[in-house]
């Protein structure tokens, strides 16, 4: 794994220098026990079932950078997002924000301060706002919990995301989906975080509203110097938002590259398949053979490279041996075919 990118965990400094990455995810593993109850197992003789949702994922995000994770369902992208904000504990590996390990730091004060710098925007703006609270209270809650003042009050926050200061008195049901997502963004900004995890923030929205919210999020990122971990299944959205893109497949990172490189020279066969399969606006009646197969069962993943059953370049080595992540100037890729020059 790419040890070169990882800051040593033993040197947490009070003020990390500007060139160091703000977020470092190192060898992250998360397993879920999805076995049946033990009594059933006893009678059926069925084994324990362990689902590895995140398998040895490492990446880092520079300060003020936007890192996107793309992948299909079951690729582990949301699990990584939840671990990055501290909603889930990792089974192995670490997440460091500003040099502080979120899960192993002993000093409560440091851990609290690191956590205060993190916020999250969720996918469903209907489920993530309390319907019985007024919008002003919703927006002010993170700041109140962290005892940080809001400059200009909740009204100013709402104006920052393109709503009106008078909307503080309203309830969430009085807003449309796009406006609700703006409220979620305002709430995330209330505690003045450095790092925001955005988990599919626009996939519940219509295209024209999605454009409004994406533009807003990008403007805020630039104006306030925020760092985003942007999670999405939609390559076109990711291309619009991210500086660096990591492609996940079945819990593992298969490729990471700067945005333009990934779209112009995708190297991993899965990345190529995703790019080919994504619908295109200029491809009327395009007749390409659609990708073969489906995502395998994560409880019993294929041996070797997990992508080999669907891969056109797979050979015996791919079936037997798990590929290592290779780092070079164009990015990182985990593929035997690329390593051997067969890609």
């Amino acid at each position: 794994m790419s040890q070169t990118m990882v800051q040593p965990a033993e040197t947490p400094t009070e003020e990390p220098d500007a060139s160091a990455p703000l977020v470092v995810v190192d060898d992250l593993v998360r397993r879920f026990d999805v076995s049946r109850p033990w009594l059933n197992r006893l009678f059926d003789g069925s084994p324990r079932a362990i689902l590895t949702a995140v398998d040895d994922v490492s990446f880092s995000i520079p300060d003020r950078g936007v890192y996107a994770l793309v992948g299909e369902s079951g690729s582990g992208k949301s699990t990584i997002g939840k671990i990055a904000v501290g909603l889930l504990k990792p089974s192995g590996g670490s997440v460091q924000i500003g040099g502080v390990d979120l899960f192993r730091e002993r000093s409560t004060r440091k851990r609290r301060r690191a956590r205060a710098d993190i916020q999250m925007v969720f996918q469903d703006p209907y489920a993530s706002l309390n319907p019985r609270w007024r919008v002003g209270d919703i927006v002010a809650e993170p700041a109140r919990a962290l005892e940080r003042p809001i400059e200009g009050g909740p009204g100013a926050l709402l104006e920052q995301v393109g709503l009106s200061a008078r909307d503080t008195e309203k309830f969430p049901h009085e807003f449309s989906g796009g406006q609700r997502q703006r409220i979620c963004v305002a709430r995330a900004l209330a505690s003045k975080p450095k790092f925001i995890v955005c988990d599919e923030p626009t996939s519940a929205l219509d295209v024209s509203v999605q454009a409004q919210v994406l533009n807003l999020m990008r403007d805020l990122q630039r104006d306030l110097g925020l760092t985003y971990l942007f999670i999405s299944h939609d390559l076109s959205v990711v291309r619009y938002m991210a500086d660096t893109i990591g492609v996940l497949y079945l819990g593992g990172l298969v490729e990471e590259a700067p945005r333009d490189t990934l779209f112009s020279k995708p190297r991993h066969p899965y990345t190529r398949m995703l790019l080919d399969a994504a619908p295109r606006i200029d491809a009327f009646g395009r007749e390409v053979p659609p990708p073969q197969g489906e995502i395998p069962d994560p409880i019993n993943p294929p041996t070797g490279c997990v992508f080999h059953p669907r891969c056109p370049l797979a050979n015996d080595r791919c079936r037997a041996e798990k590929p290592q992540m290779l780092t070079d100037e164009a990015g990182r890729v985990a593929c035997h075919a690329v390593e051997d020059g067969r890609g």
Binding site: D206, S208, A211, L235, R239, Y240, R280, F284, P291, E294
Partner: protein, 331 residues
């Protein structure tokens, strides 16, 4: 597409929902044709009335929603005049349906094979054995591996993409003239979506089935549809060949919709955005419904409802664009 070949003909369709606060019109004066073997994409954002239009064609309304005026012709039938029991004979037999969520379209307690056999025997006069053969052939045709064994599987044993294949097999097993696919790939992953779209397109072209593909995804439309109808606030904004509508949109709404699509925006450029949001059904503005969000709106657009789409006027229901077209013709 001339009207003679049209499998489905919809003329001036109006759907109304009477409520205590007045009558809502989720579909207002929509006309279109779909020819045999043709895929008509119906796009629009939520609240545009696209699903309502699909429900109108198959007559799946809960009262008090009803068709207030207009005609729906499928081959020789007038669907809008039919009684519920007559429509039941049409649904499944003449019109197949594919919905967004394949899990809710299948009975979880009945084996896939039995569901197929039941559908085939309801709609076609065939023996049980022949129905079973047809069910097997249908599953093979939609690309389900080991189809003979899978006939005995229950829906939960299939993945999402495979389930949607089964639903397509169910929709096509009675060889209907028209298939209504309402967001058939929205619940699926990108790589599976491409498979399902390709499958739907191939099967319908081979059999000459007309398809009404309802979706919010411009990418899916651009790849799958032959012609596109763009809906806004229950009204038809634009209709035409896919290359024209997607490539050279005429109606200001289509133009805005295309410009705000991230995949149509060059890297590094800001997304264009349409200000505001789709109006609610009880607050559709007078005049052209799009005028409050339209960058080209003029005084006339506020007063008069948008003009009907007339072949001579072009393919967009828009005063400004219609006049531009007339000026072009005069000069």
């Amino acid at each position: 597409m001339t009207t003679k070949q049209a499998v489905l003909q919809v003329r001036d369709l109006v759907v109304e929902i009477p409520t205590r606060r007045g009558v809502l019109r989720p579909v207002d004066g929509v006309s279109f044709d779909i020819g045999a073997g043709e895929v008509l994409g119906v796009v629009g954002e939520s609240g545009a009335g696209k699903s309502m239009m699909g429900s109108a064609v198959i007559g799946l309304f809960d009262p008090p929603t009803h068709i207030a005026s207009g005609q729906i012709r499928l081959a020789n039938h007038r669907l809008d005049l039919m009684r519920p029991y007559q429509l039941r004979a049409i649904r499944g037999r003449e019109i197949g349906m594919v919905f967004q969520d394949p899990l809710t379209s299948l009975n979880p307690l009945i084996r896939i094979g039995d569901q197929l056999v039941e559908t085939i025997r309801t709609n076609l006069a065939v023996s049980r054995r022949e129905a079973r053969d047809r069910a097997l052939a249908a599953l093979e045709e939609v690309g389900i591996p080991a189809a003979a064994q899978r006939l005995r599987s229950y829906p939960h044993e299939f993945s999402g993409g495979m389930r949607q294949r089964v639903v397509i097999a169910l929709a096509l097993c009675a060889e209907p003239k028209l298939v209504i696919a309402d967001e058939p790939t929205t619940a699926l992953d990108v790589s599976v979506q491409a498979q399902i779209i390709a499958l739907l397109k191939r099967l319908c072209r081979e059999r000459g089935t007309a398809v009404m593909l309802i979706t919010h995804d411009m990418g899916v439309i651009a790849e799958a549809a032959d012609r596109v109808a763009v809906l806004y606030a229950g009204r038809l904004a634009e209709i035409g060949d896919v290359a024209d509508v997607v490539g050279k949109p005429m109606h200001p709404y289509t133009e805005g919709l295309m410009a705000s699509t991230p995949m149509a925006t060059p890297t590094g450029q800001r997304l264009a955005q349409i200000p505001g949001a789709m109006p609610r059904l009880d607050a559709i503005p007078p005049g052209c419904a799009f005028h409050p969000r339209c960058p080209y709106a003029e005084a006339g657009c506020l007063l008069d409802p948008a003009p009907g789409i007339d072949a001579a006027e072009g393919r967009a229901a828009c005063w400004v664009r219609g006049r531009e077209r007339r000026m072009e013709r005069i000069s």
